[in-house]
């Protein structure tokens, strides 16, 4: 885990305070979408399909500060749309940092190099660049050639100027584990602080419905990618969440852990599903029937979702809510061993599920011998990502 100690301490003390207060519905990360307009049109994204007059709207800095104060989350993620298009993004970031919020500006980096002068390096401010893989995979994923090169150039410049820089990556059906591992090596060499991972999820408004992952395939893919991780790889997220993606831990969704606020209001129930909006955060919590969401509820919309916005806060709660979760987090953070030590439990179950489902090979870690998942690869053609997707 590559989060600075001060940030880890802030989150830890915040969670402990909430638990001592007996507050079950507390947010960890506010997903603050200041606009929907983007300068890319990725096939996997349903956030930008709105009429022109909707795309023209933006949250004002004051609305952003009000949302931040209203929900009280210690971390604020600024996705979109593309936040660097927002003419007042400087004021928004400065205002949130002044409130001692840990701000993650999620950008495709097309404008980053040009706009770096707007910002000042701070422990409270991280630039999180969207990169879905090496050049070929990323440019295909965002539907525009040249985006990868542009982003890498901007990352180098941001690092040179002393900014905290992470990357965020969404993995879709057909991802090649070997290529992903090579990509992690590349990012490590590049010098980013950490990598954030999430499986793509087929939310109703995403136009590319076909290439999202179901649950078993998510486990399989993440086992292949993360088994025997290199020590140098730094992930900017909870190790328990990564083990959840690998199928070693079972969690239910805590959608209120990462609430979304945008020009329509507080989105019910989560970042991906749009089941309406509430005027205030208090109303969001009070009016949403939370028992209706999460994969344990058998809600078909939630069946395959393992996205960080629903499950990472569950993992963080596990860290601070159980001795097992706490000790596991400390152990993996300090000594490594992600995904190790589960062979008599969840891994065996996972292996059986994968075998029964008839697709994918048994994850290497399920055999218990400690061999690398990456050595048991499927015969995929890394040079033709679109065909990989077609084939599934």
């Amino acid at each position: 885990m590559s989060v600075p100690v001060s940030q880890a301490f802030t989150i830890c003390s915040y969670v402990i305070r909430q638990r001592l207060k007996g507050n079950k519905y507390y947010p960890l990360v506010l997903m603050l979408e200041p606009l929907f307009r983007c300068n890319l049109e990725c096939a996997g994204c349903g956030k930008i399909q709105y009429p022109e007059h909707v795309l023209e709207r933006r949250l004002t800095p004051e609305q952003c500060f009000h949302a931040a104060e209203e929900c009280g989350a210690p971390v604020i993620s600024l996705p979109g749309g593309e936040p660097l298009i927002h003419p007042e993004i400087k004021e928004i970031v400065e205002g949130l940092v002044a409130r001692k919020k840990y701000v993650y500006l999620c950008t495709n980096a097309l404008l980053l190099k040009r706009k770096l002068d707007l910002f000042t390096p701070s422990k409270y401010f991280t630039i999180s660049v969207h990169l879905d893989g090496m050049e070929e995979e990323h440019d295909q994923s965002v539907c525009r050639e040249g985006t990868f090169k542009n982003a890498v150039e901007a990352i180098r410049e941001a690092l040179k100027r002393g900014f905290r820089v992470t990357t965020n990556m969404t993995l879709f059906e057909g991802a090649n584990p070997e290529r992903v591992r090579a990509f992690f090596d590349y990012l490590t060499e590049l010098g980013v602080e950490g990598i954030m991972l999430s499986p793509g999820y087929s939310y109703s408004h995403a136009p590319d419905q076909k290439h999202f992952l179901n649950r078993n395939r998510t486990h399989d893919l993440f086992n292949r990618i993360l088994a025997n991780p290199k020590k140098a790889w730094q992930f900017n997220q909870s190790p328990l969440f990564l083990e959840f993606l690998m199928g070693h831990r079972d969690y239910n969704c805590t959608p209120w852990g990462m609430p979304t606020y945008n020009i329509f209001g507080w989105q019910k129930p989560c970042y991906l599903l749009q089941d309406g909006y509430a005027l205030t955060f208090k109303q969001l919590i009070a009016e949403t029937d939370w028992s209706h969401y999460g994969h344990h509820t058998q809600n078909p919309l939630c069946r395959d979702c393992m996205v960080h916005s629903g499950y990472e806060s569950t993992a963080v709660n596990d860290t601070f809510g159980s001795w097992e979760g706490f000790l596991r987090t400390v152990k993996v953070t300090l000594f490594g061993g992600l995904g190790k030590g589960y062979r008599n439990g969840r891994q065996a179950e996972l292996a059986a599920q994968l075998a029964a489902s008839g697709h994918g090979q048994k994850p290497a870690s399920a055999c218990g011998c400690g061999c690398s998942a990456s050595e048991q690869k499927e015969p995929v053609d890394a040079g033709k990502p679109s065909e990989q997707k077609e084939r599934v």
Binding site: A43, G46, Q49, Y50, P51, H53, D208, K210, Q283
Partner: protein, 101 residues
């Protein structure tokens, strides 16, 4: 129109990624993006309502469901024609054209 029919119509309009026209019982029409609906009512508004974002108006417009006579999907569907397959086809055509040039 029955309550069930109206609810289905509202749901369809809520899922639509373009502007809609809401015909009111008093003969007026409201054109905009239907961004929210609450058919159970909420703490701040007990009556079922829809919310619309109207071009040029800063605030969301709230309309009580009992005032609605009908809803039509009149604006362009902004999600249409943007599938992965269509993008791949477009790229293939573009690359072929570049190869010929």
């Amino acid at each position: 129109m029955t309550e069930t029919e109206l609810a289905a119509l509202i749901e369809k309009a809520f899922d639509y990624r373009g502007d809609v026209t809401v015909d009111l019982k008093d003969g007026r029409q409201v054109v905009g993006y239907l961004s929210n609906r609450n058919l159970q009512g909420a703490e701040h508004c007990r009556e079922p309502f829809v919310e619309m974002m109207i071009a040029g108006q800063p605030e969301l417009a709230r309309i009580c469901c009992r005032e609605i006579a009908g809803i039509r999907l009149t604006g362009e569907d902004t999600a249409a024609g943007k599938s992965w397959e269509e993008w791949v086809a477009k790229q293939t055509t573009k690359k072929k054209a570049q190869g010929k040039a």
